[in-house]
Symmetry: C2
Subunit: 319 residues, 2 copies
């Protein structure tokens, strides 16, 4: 295993907790690069985690995710809360470290140290975004953010998974971009805790909202005691609907905390995180087995019929 | 771990090697069900494996995979070879044990004990078809088949992977169902060792074949010494093109054996197989950790901040 003497993990975590965006940036870069110091980073962060409220925000390109994120950031900053934003987009043109693009986009908050904004794109990380995202969120959580907004493109199963594991998930739609039936087909109704029809001044906004409400009333979330996703209308670029959205988010948080769903999701998120790390570790181990042999050599013996694949797998697993 | 006293592995393997279709069927069912006796089955089979020539056959629905398979089976049976057929189709309506459907389809060979035909569909197997297929092929190989044809639907990445790992891969196309450019886009030219335009009496067959040849001549497989995929035309339902196809397959086999590519693919196939089993084992282990705790309990500690996810993963991996 490589050593990483140059990384002073405790100092970086301390700086991050004091609000240094530079320290947070460095720690997330370690995550993106699967740096050997990561286990130490996570061990030092662990006692500080669990505080942040993780809000997932998803929707197709063009529905207004960035403006909605900006609106929410402003609302939480007005209350004096520290906010982290993680934009997860496999097709993002920004490299992992490119804060500039985000700063331009989120220009309102560029000089506000109470906000940290970061883009993440899949760049050959072991296990990809599915593995890296929870750990980047863990950095923002451990760094002392009160709220972390994770923005994902609602396409592809891995993104849905990430979204489904937030404390509270907002699904954004725009009129004419997908009616209720299409949303249901895409599995959007299942992951959304709060549904938002943005660009509410456009034709069809009312009927889209009505359809969504109908779909929900026909769904399986109508049992007593279950959270029933509200459908809101916003015009995020003008800040309209901001208070209603924040109120709906808080209502969901309070409801799930009381019902135990909050804790259940958090444990489930931790399960997936541990599983992803364990699988990545196993893949690493297979590339260089502890006893000096490699998967390739074991496979040669399997191909020759000298070893069966189960015995080979045992060797790979147990060294 | 469950014990499986009722399975007399050595007797079943011996019967399978004597040509009992019933014994082969039972062994493949063990594979499909991830039966606890599988490691023993594979250990007993291992010394008998490595003999079969594994031919992959892929193409979109409707290009004539079944008729081509039937044509090839007939050709190899005429030479007195034992042939196994594995139809891998995640959307297959046949259940894993349903030989009847195959027998109807392959009715020429229904009473021929030199042919064994089996459908496999993904049915909740750990790791799905990607894990089960190589092991089912291992059963057919170990049972003494000289040739095993694995028929896959050429849609979705997992199928391409399976196909790319055969000793020799045939890609089937039909005129008007996809021209050369579309085939190139779909990654078909990369996996095909022999390209076949079936239904060659249809309009456009010649131009499809010409386009494919052009695409190949522009590709990166034109270096000296590399296998250059031939493009053949067949009418499988009438048996036309049968000799040419078999000759092309043999030529590919001889070429790759001489170049070392044959051995390289087999080791690569074994690598993936071992990897898939190891990952499935790890998932099993995570559901019930050896020390009596479970992933869920570890995750609860992670969610509470008492344990970091890397330490938790280490615990999961090393028990």
């Amino acid at each position: 295993m490589r050593r990483a003497r140059e990384v002073d993990v405790r100092a970086w975590v301390a700086s991050a907790r004091e609000g240094s965006p530079r320290a947070v940036a460095r720690l997330i870069t370690l995550v993106e690069n699967s740096h050997p110091a990561l286990p130490e980073v996570m061990a030092v962060l662990a006692p500080h985690t669990g505080h942040a409220w993780l809000i997932g925000l998803t929707g197709s390109p063009g529905v207004g995710k960035s403006t909605t994120t900006t609106m929410l950031v402003r609302a939480f900053r007005d209350e004096g809360l520290r906010v982290g934003v993680l934009a997860v987009d496999p097709s993002s043109p920004f490299s992992g470290g490119a804060l500039l693009g985000d700063r331009v986009r989120m220009s309102d908050h560029a000089l506000d140290t109470g906000v940290y904004v970061r883009s993440m794109a899949s760049r050959g990380h072991l296990g990809g975004l599915a593995a890296a995202t929870p750990q980047a969120l863990r950095v923002l959580d451990g760094a002392g953010c009160d709220v972390v907004i994770v923005e994902t493109v609602g396409v592809g199963q891995s993104e849905v998974e990430v979204t489904g594991l937030a404390d509270t998930t907002v699904v954004l739609l725009a009129p004419g971009m997908g009616d209720g039936v299409q949303a249901a087909k895409a599995g959007i109704l299942e992951v959304g805790d709060v549904l938002v029809v943005n660009k509410a001044d456009r034709t069809g906004a009312d009927s889209t909202a009505r359809e969504l409400r109908q779909m929900i009333s026909l769904g399986d979330r109508t049992q007593p005691g279950m959270w029933r996703p509200p459908v809101l209308k916003t015009m995020a670029d003008r800040g309209e609907g901001r208070e209603e959205l924040v109120a709906a988010l808080r209502k969901h948080r309070d409801h799930t905390r009381a019902s135990g769903e909050w804790q259940r999701r958090r444990v489930s998120r931790a399960e997936r995180e541990v599983e992803a790390i364990a699988l990545a570790r196993l893949r690493e181990r297979m590339r260089g087995l502890p006893d000096g042999s490699s998967l390739h050599e074991v496979a040669e013996r399997v191909a020759a019929g000298d070893l069966d694949p189960y015995a080979a797998a045992r060797q790979v697993l147990d060294g």
